[in-house]
Amino acid sequence: MSFSATNFAQPRPVPVGVRSNEKPLSSDASRFRFRGPPSFLGSPHSLRFKPIPPFKLAIPHSQRSAASSVTHIANGKMVKSSANLLITKEEGLELYEDMILGRFFEDMCAQMYYRGKMFGFVHLYNGQEAVSTGFFKLLKKEDTVVSTYRDHVHALSKGVPARAVMSELFGKATGCCRGQGGSMHMFSKEHNVIGGFAFIGEGIPVATGAAFSSKYRREVLKEAGADQVTLAFFGDGTCNNGQFYECLNMAALWKLPIIFVVENNLWAIGMSHLRATSDPEIWKKGPAFGMPGVHVDGMDVLKVREVAKEAIERARRGDGPTLVECETYRFRGHSLADPDELRDPAEKARYAARDPISALKKYLFENKLASEQELKSIEKKIDEVLDDAVEYSDESPLPPRSQLLENVFADPKGFGIGPDGKYRCEDPKFTQGTAHV
C-alpha cells in the first residue's frame, strides 16, 4: 500500500473549516461579534490584522496523482509539485526512529508488565504512533504538551529520555517523577510535558491554561518571543465530555495558541465511538465554536505532519486554535487489563494492514530516501536504547521511605512566602500569628 492518497479508503467528505456560506474565518469577526472580549484580542500587534484564509485540508481524492508526489497545501490554494517530496531524508529517518522508539517501547512495556515489573494501569499506544510523531517533530522544546493516560509515547516523542520514562513505570526513584506519578502521570518541566491526566477531558482545560499563559506572557507581561504553542491530546470518548466544549469555546473566544488533537481510535475501552456519539464527525465541532476543524488520516504520518505544520504555524502567528481529528487505531486493548473482545477482528486486520510504520517504511523505500540497512540500524539502535533503559530501571533504587511525605507543598511549612521571597515562618515577626488590633 503506497502512500498515495487514492489507496486510502476514506469515504469521508474532506472538511473545510469555514462557518457558513464560505465566509472566511476572519479574526475580526470574533472581535465584533462579542462585546468585550479581552483587549489583547484587539491589541495593536500585527498578529491580528493578517487576513487569514480558512484553513483547508481540501484534497479531494480525484485530484491526487497516483504517483508518489502529494499535493502541497499553501494558503488555501493547492499547488501540485510532483518533484517535491514531503520530507527530506534526515526528516524521514527522524520520523522513522521516533515511531520505532514508540512502538518498541510500548512492546517492551507489555513484556515488563507480564513479568511483573510494571503494575497498575498501563495504556499502550501501539498503532497511533503517526499522530504523535507527526506533531511532535515540529515542536520546539518550549512548546507544551498535555496528554491523557496514554502518554508514554507523548513523553518520549517530546524528548523525555527512555530511561526516565521506563524507571517511572517501574516505580523507581530515578523516574521522571521519582516514581510518584506512574504510567498515567508523566510530567517533565524541562521538556514541557505537563501531564499525564487520568480523567478524560481533564487535560484539556489545563492545556488551554498553558496556552493562555503563553498569550498572557506575550500580551500583558510583554515578554519577547513568548510564542509557545500548546498541544492537547485526547480521544474520541473525550469529545462527548463537557470540559471539551467549554475549552473549545474559551480557546476560540480568547484566540489561544492551542491545538486540540483528537486521537480518534474509534473505541473508548469497549464503547464504540459510533454508539456513544450523536454526530461522530468530531472535526465538525470546531467550526461550531469558531475555529477550523480538520480531519486527517492518523495512520499516515506525513499527512498528519502536513496538517500539524499548518495548525502549529497558525497558533504561533496568533490566529487562534485549531481542532484536528486524527482517525487512528490502537492495535492493543485499551489497557493491558483489557481482554479486547468487543472489537471485530476484521476491523483490526484492516487497520493492521495500515500500520503507520510499515507505511512510512514503504514511502522511504519507494522514494529512495533510505535503504533497508539504514532502517535496520535504526531499529537496532532503538533496541539497544530500550535494553539499556530496562537495565537502568532494574538497577535503580526504589524511592526511600522519606520520599513519601515530600513534595506535597512547594512551601513546606505552610506559612506562605514573604515579600522578600523567604519563607515567612523564618521571619520572627510573623510567627506569632497575631496582629494586634
Binding site: G195, P205, G209, Y216, R217, N249, L253, F409
Partner: protein, 360 residues
C-alpha cells in the same frame, strides 16, 4: 449584625486618648478583600483574576469592584459559565508561573470544578515530584447565606481540607481577609479561600499595620480572639462572631471562654488548639457545616490523640443540622448553629446543666 465587633477590651488609659491618637480604622470585609486583591495585582503583574461577573459587573458580591477599570480586561477576565473549564485554565496558567485568582460565585459551584481543584491543582506538585507547582487561589463565598436553599448553602471546608496538597483558609475579620488573601496569593501552592457572604458587609477595626501593603498573615496559624481559662471554643468564619457573643454571655455567668479563630483549616493549627485545651481542659468545636466527617471531628480527634489526659469533659461538637439546608426562615435558623447552642454546649462541658443556675 452590622455593629463593629471589639476583639479585646481596650485599656482605659488608651480610651481617654482615642480622640487624639490615630484611632483604629474600620473596614468591611468586602473592602479588605478588594484592597488585598488590588495591592497584590499592582505588585505582581502575573496575578490575574478570573471568574463569572468579576469584571463588568464589578463582582457578583462586589468584591472585585473597580479592578477592571484599573487593570483592564486582560487581567480581570469575565468568563463564560464554565467552572470546570476556567478552573482548569487557571491551573494550566499556574503551571507556567502565572498567579491566577479564580473566583467561584459560591463554593457550591466549585463542585463542577472540583476535579481540577483536587486532581490537577492539589496533586500535581506531588505527581510531578516537585517539578510543577501551582500558585493558584480559588476564592469565593462559602457556607450558608440567608434563605438561598439547599444547593447554595453548603460549607466545603471539610471536603477541601481532607485533600493533601491544598491549603484551606477561612478568614473571619477584615484583618484576616486582608492578611490571608495576600498570603494566599503569594503562596506557591493551591489555596482554597473560603469567605462568607454574610460577613462581607461587616465592619471590623483594622490597625495601621493591617493596612500596610506588605501585611500578610501566616498560613497555618490560628488566632486566639479572646483569652479564657475555663473552656476552649474553636470556630472559623462566621461562627467566630457567634462564639465571641457566646463567650460574652458565658462571662456573665462566670465561665471564661477562650475563643480560637482557626483561620486555617488546612494546615490545621493543632499546636494552638492543643495548648489551649491543656490550659482549659474543655473543648467545644463550632462549625456551620454538616457534622459528619467535619472540621470539628478532626479537631476532636487531634485533641484526643494529643491531649487526652487533659480533657475533663467529652468534646462538644456544634455543627449544622445533618440535613440539606431548608428554605423556610425558621427551619433555616434551626439548621444553623446559633449563639444559644454554643452557650449550652460550653455549659455542658463545664458540667453546668441547663437550665439550672451556674454554680461557682
Amino acid at each position: 449584625m452590622l455593629r463593629a465587633i471589639r476583639h479585646k477590651s481596650i485599656h482605659p488609659a488608651f480610651c481617654a486618648f482615642r480622640a487624639f491618637s490615630s484611632a483604629a480604622k474600620e473596614m468591611t470585609v468586602r473592602d479588605a478583600l478588594n484592597s488585598a486583591l488590588d495591592e497584590e495585582m499592582s505588585a505582581d503583574p502575573k496575578v490575574f483574576l478570573m471568574g463569572e461577573e468579576v469584571g463588568e459587573y464589578q463582582g457578583a458580591y462586589k468584591i472585585t469592584k473597580g479592578l477592571l477599570d484599573k487593570y483592564g480586561p486582560e487581567r480581570v477576565l469575565d468568563t463564560p459559565i464554565t467552572e470546570a473549564g476556567f478552573a482548569g485554565i487557571g491551573v494550566g496558567a499556574a503551571y507556567y508561573g502565572l498567579r491566577p485568582v479564580v473566583e467561584f460565585m459560591t463554593f457550591n459551584f466549585s463542585m463542577q470544578a472540583i476535579d481540577h481543584i483536587i486532581n490537577s491543582a492539589a496533586k500535581s506538585y506531588y505527581m510531578s515530584a516537585g517539578q510543577i507547582s501551582v500558585p493558584i487561589v480559588f476564592r469565593g463565598p462559602n457556607g450558608a447565606a440567608a434563605g438561598v436553599g439547599a444547593q447554595h448553602s453548603q460549607c466545603y471546608a471539610a471536603w477541601f481540607a481532607a485533600c493533601p496538597g491544598l491549603k484551606v483558609l477561612t478568614p473571619y475579620s477584615s484583618e484576616d481577609a486582608r492578611g490571608l488573601l495576600k498570603a494566599a496569593i503569594r503562596d506557591p501552592d493551591p489555596v482554597v479561600f473560603l469567605e462568607n457572604e454574610l460577613l462581607y458587609g461587616e465592619l471590623f477595626p483594622v490597625s495601621a499595620e493591617v493596612l500596610d501593603s506588605s501585611f500578610c498573615l501566616p498560613i497555618g496559624k490560628a488566632k486566639i480572639e479572646r483569652e479564657g481559662k475555663d473552656v476552649t471554643i474553636t470556630a472559623y468564619s462566621k461562627m467566630v462572631g457567634y462564639a465571641l457573643k457566646a463567650a460574652d454571655i458565658l462571662a456573665k455567668e462566670g465561665i471564661s471562654a477562650e475563643v480560637i479563630n482557626l483561620r486555617s483549616i488546612r494546615p490545621l493549627d493543632r499546636s494552638t488548639i492543643n495548648a489551649s485545651v491543656r490550659k482549659t481542659n474543655r473543648l467545644v468545636t463550632v462549625e456551620e457545616s454538616f457534622p459528619q466527617h467535619g472540621v470539628g471531628a478532626e479537631i476532636c480527634t487531634s485533641v484526643v490523640e494529643e491531649s487526652f489526659g487533659y480533657l475533663d469533659a467529652p468534646v462538644e461538637r456544634i455543627a449544622g443540622a445533618d440535613v440539606p439546608m431548608p428554605y423556610a426562615a425558621n427551619l433555616e435558623r434551626m439548621a444553623v448553629p446559633q449563639v444559644e447552642d454554643i452557650v449550652r454546649a460550653a455549659k455542658r462541658t463545664c458540667h453546668r446543666s441547663v437550665p439550672l443556675a451556674a454554680t461557682a
